[in-house]
């Protein structure tokens, strides 16, 4: 009984530790800029005292008054925002002059917090506010005071909104561009290797040709070569091709007039090919192991019936290998979508074509004071892989098990 309680609570604790960061991510992305950077995410769910600045009235309002009445919360919510401020007004921080205890007959400037209900002097008038935000500003003689900006602390009720998402998705062009670029990179970089690998896996499994077995060993052993080792020569190769293409462009077209001859060496195409090459060893390993396990009689009877290898491959092998194809394509999809280093070295480097991980890495710097935007952008970058992952979890686990329990 004790062990049962213990295992429940230990597991609950671990799950809690694993989930808290997600709560932090999502709740921060749903808060206003001020809240996100002044109070931790765990204060988002309970009333929290936060600072705001409001002005007593609009500029250019010159009516002569004796008493001005208004509401602080109404003034704050004047500007349309997705995060209406509600709650108890606690205090106002005011700069005021008081008699200096050390220097008689002089005054000194102090900042002090004035609670609700207490009178304070603002521009020669008496300013009083209540917890619900109502304030009155009275003068002895009719006056036309200029608007005064005051810093107010409000015990603010929780409020969530999607402003950050709207801002990064529509007002800012980086995130939509990153999203489209990531799709441009990921879809071909998933489909091409799986096509190529499926043919190769079939050949390695069921076709006869000289050197088959040791070629397969070489292909699979390339799986462990760190890709960093290959970056520089690949890059040099692509710049060679690009400069050649540039001169071809110059020679064949009238690009000199528009100054568009330069062919970029780092492009989506270079990223597709590189990701394809890097993904092939694992793909061939997984698919070949699967295809070898299919019943051999199938192949033999199809051969007897006069089917060609291409027919056997497209009509029999592909339909039967769907689980293995699915599990590799999830691997490759997640790997390419989440990849930073290959895209950094070989992918396009103009600002509009950056893939999501690079954009997010840059936003860690540019949005360091706009945490709501940073977190919203991170959420958007995660939606696609997490959805793919959850919907195809079964195949992913199958692939993991095939890849590591059997060896490799």
């Amino acid at each position: 009984m004790i062990t049962r309680t213990l295992s429940h609570s230990v597991l609950a604790l671990i799950v809690f530790i694993w989930v808290v960061p997600f709560v932090a991510l999502v709740s921060t992305s749903l808060r206003s800029e001020t809240e996100a950077k002044t109070a931790g995410f765990w204060t988002a769910f309970t009333p929290t005292e936060l600072g705001h600045r409001f002005s007593t009235h609009d500029k250019g309002d010159d009516t002569e008054i004796l008493t001005m009445a208004g509401n602080i919360l109404a003034r704050l919510n004047n500007e349309a925002s997705g995060f209406p401020v509600t709650g108890d007004v606690q205090s106002i921080l005011i700069k005021t002059r008081i008699p200096d205890p050390e220097n008689p007959e002089k005054t000194k400037l102090v900042r002090k917090l004035v609670p609700a209900g207490e009178v304070m002097g603002v521009r020669g008038g008496d300013f009083v506010f209540q917890t619900n935000g109502d304030f009155t500003w009275t003068f002895e003689q009719p006056a036309t005071p200029k608007p005064k900006n005051l810093d107010v602390f409000i015990n603010q009720n929780p409020v969530f909104g999607t402003d950050a998402y709207i801002e990064v998705l529509f007002d800012n062009k980086n995130v939509p561009n990153a999203l489209i670029s990531s799709f441009i990179v990921t879809i071909p970089a998933t489909i091409i290797p799986i096509t190529i690998a499926a043919f190769a896996a079939y050949a390695f499994a069921w076709m006869q040709f000289p050197g088959r077995d040791w070629l397969f060993v070489i292909v699979v052993s390339l799986m462990v070569v760190p890709t960093q080792l290959a970056f520089l020569p690949i890059l040099q190769g692509f710049s060679g091709i690009a400069s050649w293409a540039t001169s071809m462009n110059q020679w064949l077209t009238d690009c000199e007039l528009t100054d568009t001859c330069q062919v970029a060496s780092k492009s989506f195409a270079s990223l597709w090919i590189t990701h394809t090459a890097f993904g092939l060893p694992l793909a061939i390993y997984l698919l070949r192991n699967y295809i070898v396990g299919l019943p051999k009689e199938l192949l033999q009877s199809a051969r007897v019936d006069g089917a060609s290898h291409l027919q056997i491959f497209t009509k029999i092998i592909i339909p039967l290998s769907v689980p293995a194809l699915a599990s590799f394509s999830i691997f490759q999809f997640l790997w390419v979508w989440n990849d930073l280093i290959v895209a950094l070295y070989i992918g396009p480097n103009n600002a509009d074509d950056l893939v999501f991980p690079i954009r997010l890495q840059k936003q860690l710097g540019t949005f360091k004071d706009q945490l709501h935007l940073l977190n919203a952008s991170a959420v958007i970058s995660m939606i696609v892989p997490v959805l793919v992952f959850l919907s195809m979890q079964r195949y992913f686990i199958r692939g993991l098990l095939a890849g590591s329990v059997k060896g490799g």
Binding site: S7, V10, P21, A24, L25, T28, T34, K37, T38, A39, G51, H52, L93, D151, F153, K173, I180, F183, P188, I192, T195, I196, F199, A200, A203, M207, F209, R212, V224, V225, P226, Q228, L229, A230, F231, L232, I234, A269, A277, F278, H309, L310, L334, D339, L340, D352, P357, L360, Q361, L364, D369, L371, N375, S381, M382, F389, L400, V405, G407, G408
Partner: protein
């Protein structure tokens, strides 16, 4: 027989040449011809923009939609070219053989059968040769050269020469790699085992496992952003005011729990030396799910009768785990361990995203990037230095590869192959 070999060779050459010229030209022509589609897409976007009265600038709509247009056509062309390769080569193979041996069906099929395997594995072999094998060897060559190509050991001087570029960085990177290497796999495996065992014993285990598992789908940079909310403080200069008020709260949960005030806003992962452990934790958070899934499956494979026998003998849960289950999944633990070790040695994204230029947090992969971007004093030699560090990275992985190979061969022998 002689003529058959000749036929095979000439047919292969014909197919090869056709592919080498046809595919790139088709790709370029396809891109040029479909170019106007982007404008069509942009016009469609503009029409949508006006029809639905979207509030953001029209220019944005035009740019986004023409990019979507580019995305669609480039995806279709790229995928189409790769399908086209297999279609065209097989068709060529068949029709060339038929053309050459009009009367002998047997010889026809022998030519086709001889060429076909190479059509199937050709792209793989070419890609791996050009993008992994040759580059890896050429990096090795580069690392032993000066920038002008003369042979030299100067790039490796950071190994022994105190004054060489990267001497200190290399030591820090090795120290950190060693820490990562010991801690991350150990913690991942311990947590993974613990969760796998616990989750199997409670009813809501599947839900728990899903939660632990999800971080595997997230990019390392995304994980860095997530944990920034926990480990980083303030995020703003303490004296800088927001809406006129100095922030009075600590934003980072962990920092708050440690009692750091808002004025002390150094992120935990930037702390000297100890910061490394917070970076490691992020990787542990991501990778524990992997260990857990594998162990969960392996534990389910433990034979029931051994467990029953232990239960009858009155084993308590701890004895059951350490004496009965763990020894039986020992080889799986080793596999997970080697996989994690290779992953850790190559880890790049997390330190790059959170502490890129901090020598104290260097790992070999980030050191490569730093060498390329920041060590401008290396002048022309920077690429060769980069290559040398890449070779060092390769060397750290080698013991693991050898171990892995030895293990696979032993397994194969045990299976009787």
């Amino acid at each position: 027989m002689r003529s058959l070999k000749l036929a095979i060779a000439s047919n292969s050459l014909a197919i090869f040449l056709t592919i080498v010229f046809l595919l790139p030209i088709t790709a370029i022509v396809a891109f040029v011809v479909t170019g106007p589609l982007d404008d069509a897409m942009a016009n469609f976007g503009l029409w949508m923009h006006r029809a639905f009265e979207w509030s953001f600038p029209e220019m944005n709509t035009i740019e986004r939609f023409s990019k979507i247009g580019f995305a669609i056509r480039s995806v279709i062309i790229a995928v189409g070219i790769s399908f086209m390769y297999f279609g065209i080569t097989n068709w060529l193979n068949m029709s060339l053989a038929r053309h050459r041996e009009r009367d002998a069906v047997g010889r026809q099929s022998r030519i086709v059968e001889a060429i076909q395997p190479w059509i199937f594995v050709g792209p793989t072999l070419v890609l791996l040769l050009l993008f992994l094998l040759v580059p890896a060897l050429s990096t090795l060559g580069l690392s032993f050269q000066e920038s002008d190509g003369t042979p030299s050991l100067r790039n490796y001087a950071f190994l022994w020469d105190r004054d060489a570029l990267g001497y200190l960085q290399f030591r820090l990177a090795m120290r950190n790699s060693l820490l990562w290497l010991i801690l991350v796999p150990t913690v991942c495996i311990s947590f993974g085992l613990l969760i796998a065992v616990l989750a199997d014993s409670v009813r809501w285990g599947v839900v728990a496992k899903t939660f632990i598992f999800i971080p595997l789908a997230i990019s390392f940079v995304g994980a860095a952003v997530i944990w920034r909310n926990i480990f980083a403080g303030g995020g703003i200069e303490p004296l800088q005011t927001i809406n006129g008020v100095t922030p009075s709260y600590q934003i980072g949960l962990m920092k708050s729990l440690l009692g750091h005030t808002a004025e002390y806003n150094e992120p935990l992962y930037s702390l000297k030396f100890w910061g490394n452990f917070f970076l490691m934790w992020i990787l542990v958070w991501v990778q524990t799910g992997f260990a857990m899934v594998i162990f969960s499956a392996a534990l389910r494979g433990v034979p029931e009768d051994t467990i029953e026998a232990a239960t009858i003998d009155g084993a308590n849960p701890f004895q059951m785990f350490f004496r009965i289950k763990l020894p039986q999944i020992y080889s799986t633990v080793l596999v997970v361990w080697t996989t994690l070790v290779i992953l850790v040695l190559k880890v790049f994204d997390i330190p790059y995203a959170l502490s890129a230029n901090d020598d104290d947090k260097l790992l070999l992969a980030t050191m490569m990037e730093n060498a390329r971007n920041n060590w401008s004093i290396g002048g022309d030699n920077v690429d060769n230095l980069f290559a040398a560090i890449a070779v060092m990275l390769m060397l750290t992985v080698v013991p693991n590869m050898i171990f892995n190979g030895w293990r696979i061969r032993r397994e194969q022998k045990e299976l009787g192959h």
